[in-house]
Symmetry: D2
Subunit: 320 residues, 4 copies
Amino acid sequence: MRSEEVYEKLKQWVEDNRSHTMLGEPAQYIPALANQDRDQLGICIMDIDGDTYMAGESDVTFTLQSISKIISFVALCHFKGLDFVLDKVDVEPTGESFNSIIPFEIHRPGKPFNPLINAGAITVASMLPGDNVSEKFERFLLFVEGMIGRQLELDQEVYESEWKTAHRNRALAYYLKESSLLDLDVEEALDIYIRLCAISIDLKDLAKIGLVIAHDGYDPIEKQQIFSSDVARIAKVLMVTCGMYNSSGKFAAHVGIPAKSGVSGGILASVPPKWHSPEKAFRKGCGIAVFSPAIDANGNSAAGTMLLRQISEEWDFSIF
Amino acid sequence: MRSEEVYEKLKQWVEDNRSHTMLGEPAQYIPALANQDRDQLGICIMDIDGDTYMAGESDVTFTLQSISKIISFVALCHFKGLDFVLDKVDVEPTGESFNSIIPFEIHRPGKPFNPLINAGAITVASMLPGDNVSEKFERFLLFVEGMIGRQLELDQEVYESEWKTAHRNRALAYYLKESSLLDLDVEEALDIYIRLCAISIDLKDLAKIGLVIAHDGYDPIEKQQIFSSDVARIAKVLMVTCGMYNSSGKFAAHVGIPAKSGVSGGILASVPPKWHSPEKAFRKGCGIAVFSPAIDANGNSAAGTMLLRQISEEWDFSIF
Amino acid sequence: MRSEEVYEKLKQWVEDNRSHTMLGEPAQYIPALANQDRDQLGICIMDIDGDTYMAGESDVTFTLQSISKIISFVALCHFKGLDFVLDKVDVEPTGESFNSIIPFEIHRPGKPFNPLINAGAITVASMLPGDNVSEKFERFLLFVEGMIGRQLELDQEVYESEWKTAHRNRALAYYLKESSLLDLDVEEALDIYIRLCAISIDLKDLAKIGLVIAHDGYDPIEKQQIFSSDVARIAKVLMVTCGMYNSSGKFAAHVGIPAKSGVSGGILASVPPKWHSPEKAFRKGCGIAVFSPAIDANGNSAAGTMLLRQISEEWDFSIF
Amino acid sequence: MRSEEVYEKLKQWVEDNRSHTMLGEPAQYIPALANQDRDQLGICIMDIDGDTYMAGESDVTFTLQSISKIISFVALCHFKGLDFVLDKVDVEPTGESFNSIIPFEIHRPGKPFNPLINAGAITVASMLPGDNVSEKFERFLLFVEGMIGRQLELDQEVYESEWKTAHRNRALAYYLKESSLLDLDVEEALDIYIRLCAISIDLKDLAKIGLVIAHDGYDPIEKQQIFSSDVARIAKVLMVTCGMYNSSGKFAAHVGIPAKSGVSGGILASVPPKWHSPEKAFRKGCGIAVFSPAIDANGNSAAGTMLLRQISEEWDFSIF
C-alpha cells in the first residue's frame, strides 16, 4: 500500500471516529487532565523504516499515566531479569478494578495479580535499580530515552497534583507494605510510581516504543536489541490480557492488538509482523500511538479505542 | 454478699482461669506488647460506693489499644452530640475483620460500619474537638481524667512503635480519605488515633470507666452525670454487638456483659444494675477491668474472657 | 399503670405511627405478600397474666417468614441441646446481606455466621428432629402449638409461591451442601425451611411466643418451663445482634428490645422484666407482636419498627 | 522438518515430561476421574493435510469436561450469531475461581464474566438451539461430529456421577436464575451443561477441533468453512485470556498457544499459521490434543502443560 493511501485512510478514519469522543470524559481527578480539550483525536504510526504516519491532532504531548506500567515492567525485567520480576508479581488477569484491595484481602498473602494493576505497578516501580527515588527515575528515563532517541521530562504540575490526591494509591501501597509485598519505603515507592505516570510524551515517541515491543525488543530502525525477546513476549501477553483495564477482553476480541492505555487518553499499541496478503499495510509490523483525552467508564480513550478497532479491522492487525 | 466472700471468690476464680493464658499469645507486632509476661491475670471490680475488689496481678499498667475506641466514641458523642456522630459512623456489627477494607469496596461509599472497627475509630478520633492533634489529645485526656480523677499518660514507646508499623491503618485511613469519609489530614487522623491507643491505664481506672458506662453515664461515687444516658446506652449496645472483635456474638451469648477488649490484653466491662435475688453480688451494678496479655486468635484476652465468663455465670451478670 | 391507660396510649401510638407505612412497600416477590393492604398497622402486647392489649389492625394473620428462624433455633436447641446446635451454626453478627454467599467463599469452609441469616436458618431447619420433612414439620408445629395452645396451619399458597421462586435460597443451600455444611438432602432442607416460613400466625400467638422468650423459656401463664433459660438467653442475644437484618445495630441502639422481623411485615419482640420505677407499664416483662406489611429497604416493617421505637422510649423497654 | 524427525522429537519430549505427572493428581470428585492411571501422558498433533503425529498414551478416550466450554461457545455463536451471545456473556477474564459466586454478588446484576467460567458456560449451554435438553444435546453433537467426521457418545457413568455431585454448579445456576441471567429451567440448564462435560472424546478428534479453530473456522482437510472466522478469532482470544483457569496468564506468557483445559486432564490447543523460518515444524498451523489425567492446583493437566511448553519453545508456537 502506498504511503499516500495510508495517509489518506488514516485521515479519513480519524474523522470517522472523532464523534466517539462524546462517549467519554477527560479524567476529572486532577486539573491538568480535566482541562484538556475533549474533542482531540490524534494518531501516529511508525513503520520499521522509521517512517511515521500521522493524522488528527498529532502534535500533542500528554503524560504516560498507566502506559508507564508496561514500560516500567519491561525496564525492570531488562535490568533484573524475568525470573526476579515474576517472583514478585504474577501475570494473571483479574476481573476486579485496577485499584482494588479486595483481591489481596481475599487471596492474601498473594503477590499482585499482574504488573498492570496499580498494586503490581507500584511494586515494579519500587524495584527499579537505583539507591533512591531520583536514581531510579533517572535510570528509567535513560532506558526509555535510549529507545526514543531524545530526552524526556516530568510534567511537574501533573506530578504534584497526583502526589497530593493519591489517597487510593497510598492505601494500596500501605496495604502492600503491611503484607510484606513492598521492600521500599511506602512514600518512596509512591514517589517513583507517580513520577513514572507523570512523564510527558508525544505520539511519535510512544509509537517508537510500540514498534520496539512489536519487534520483540529489537529496534528495526537503529538495528539494535533494546531488551530481550522473552521480555517483549510477556509484555505483549500482558497488554493483550490486562492492557485495557476491565475491557481488556473485549479489546482483544474486537481489536486484537497488544495495547496499553492511560487515563490521560493515550494508548500505546504494538502490531507484530504478520503473514499477510501483500495488499495490507504494515505487513512487517508497526508501533501505534493514539491520543484522545475523553476516556470511557473503564478508563480507556473512547475515540482512541474505536479508531484502533477500525484500523485493525481494515488492515487485519489482530494477532488472533 | 460480704466483701470477704467476694474477695475470696475472685481470688479463687483468677487461679481457676490462669491456665487459660496458655490459649493465647501476647500481641507480637510491637516489642512493648510482645515482651509482656504472658502468665499474668488480674482483675479489679468497682462497686457504686467506690470500693474496689482486686485479685491476681492487679497492680499493672497497660495501654488502652482498642479499648480506647469505645471511650473516644463516648467522648465524641458527649462533645458533639449523638446525631453528629451517628451521621458519620453507623452502629451495625460486621462479620469482617476489624481492619478489613473489603466492606468499603463492596458497599461503598458507605460510612464505617461502627466505631469499634478501625475505620470507624479513626473517623471518630479525627473528629474529636481541638484545632490540632495535641489539642484533640488534651481534650480527650481531660474528659477521661474527669471520670477517673487522676492524670493519664501516653506510653511513648508504644506510641512510637505503633506509629512506625501502622501500615494497615494507614491503608485504611487513606482509603477513607479517598472515599471522602475523613475530613482531617490522614497523618493527623492516624496520629490522634494511635495516641488514644497508647494511653497507659491501670485496672482501677478502667473499672471506674466501666462503672460510669454501666450507670448510664452517671458517676455514682462523685454523684455527677459525666455524659448523657443516651450516649451510655448506645455505648453498651456497641460493646454487646461489636466489643469483642469477631467473637462479640459468642461473648454476648456466653458472658452477656457489655465489654470492650484491646490487643494489649485488657478488657473493660460494664455490669448494669439488675433485678436480682439478694444473695447475688453487685446487684447495683459495677465496673470491671481485666488484664491478661495473652490474646486469642480473635484479639481478645484468652484468660480474661474465661474469667469474665465464670464471674458472669456465678453472679448472673448477663444482661440477657 | 392502669389497663385503660395502656389501651389508650397504644391506640394513640398506632395512629401516630401509621403514616410510617409510607416509608416501605409490601414485599414484592410473591403475590400473597405483594397484594396485602399496605396501610395496616396492628399490635398485641401480652403480659404475664395472659392479658392482651391490642390496637390497630390487630385481627390479622400473616406468615412467619424470617420470624420462624428464631423459633426454629429455639426448637432445635430444645430438642438437641445447645452444644449440638452451636457446633453447626455460629452466633456472630455479619454485615453482609441475609442471603449473601460472599462470606462463605471468603471465609470458607466456615459454618454459617448465625441462625438468623438464611444459610444458618436452612441448616437449623434441616436438623429438626424427624425422619422426613413431614415429621420435622409436625414436630416443630407441636413445639410451637405447645406454647400458644392452639393449632397452626401452613399457608399453602405462600408455601407454593415461595417454593417456586426460591432460587437464591436454592443457591445458598447447594452451596452449603457442597461445603459439607448440610447433611440433609438439599431439596428436603429447603422444603422444611420454606414450610416454616409459610406458617400462618396471628398477633396474639406471636405475642405469646415473645412472652415466653422474655421470661427465659418459662410460660408465666401456664406456669411451665417450655425450654431452658440458656436457650432463651442465646435467643435474646441473637435477636439483639442479628434480629432486624442489616439494621439490627440501629434497632438495638434506638429501640433496645430483643426482636425478630420477617418480610411479611411481622415483628416478634420480647421485653424482659426490668428494675423499673412503678409508674412504668409491663414491669414484669411482656411479649409484643407487631404487624404492618410495608417493609423498608432492610426488610423490616417500616411502621412496626417506628411503633416499637416509640413504645420503648415511652415505657423504657430497652435492655441497654 | 521431516515427519520422522517430528515423531522422534514428540516421543522424546513426552518422555522428558512424563515425570511432571508427579506434580498433579487426578481429579477426585468423581470415581471415573479419580481412578484413572495417573502416569499417562499422550499427545496428538494434526496438520493441515490431516496427517496426525502421536506419542505416548495416545490411544485414550476421556471426557471433555471444561474443554466443552469453548466448543459450546463456538457452537452457540455459529447457531445464533456473535451479537446474540456477547449480549448474554462478557469476554473479560476474571481473577476469581472458575466457580466463584463472589463476582456476581459484588458486581451484580452483571452478566457472567466470560463463557469459560462455569456461570458463563451454563448460560451458553442453556441457550443452545433445541426445544428440550435432548434436542440441544443432539444439535451440539451434530455440530461437533460434522467437524470430526465420526459419532460421539456420552460417558453415562461420568454424566451420572457429575449430576449427583453438582452442588456448586447448582448453586451457581440458581444464583444465575435469581439474577434473571438464565431463561431455561435451572435443572435443564444443568443437565445440558453436564452432558456436554461428559462427552467422550479421543486425542485425534480433539486435535481436529483444535485445527479448525486454528484455521479460523475453516477445515483445511475437508476444505469447508465450519464456522465464521469472527467466531474463531474470539474463541482464540478466550482461550488465551481465560482458557487455563487461574493460570491462563502464565500459560500465555510461557506457552502462548490458544488452549482450553479440562479437569479430566485433556487440553485442546490451536496453533495458528505463523511467519516462520522454514526449518520450523507445522508452519501452516496445527491442532494439538494432550491428555494426562494428573491435574495441578489450578485444574490443568500438570504434565500436559509442561509438554506444551516445551513444544512451543522448541517449535516457536507462541502467538506472542
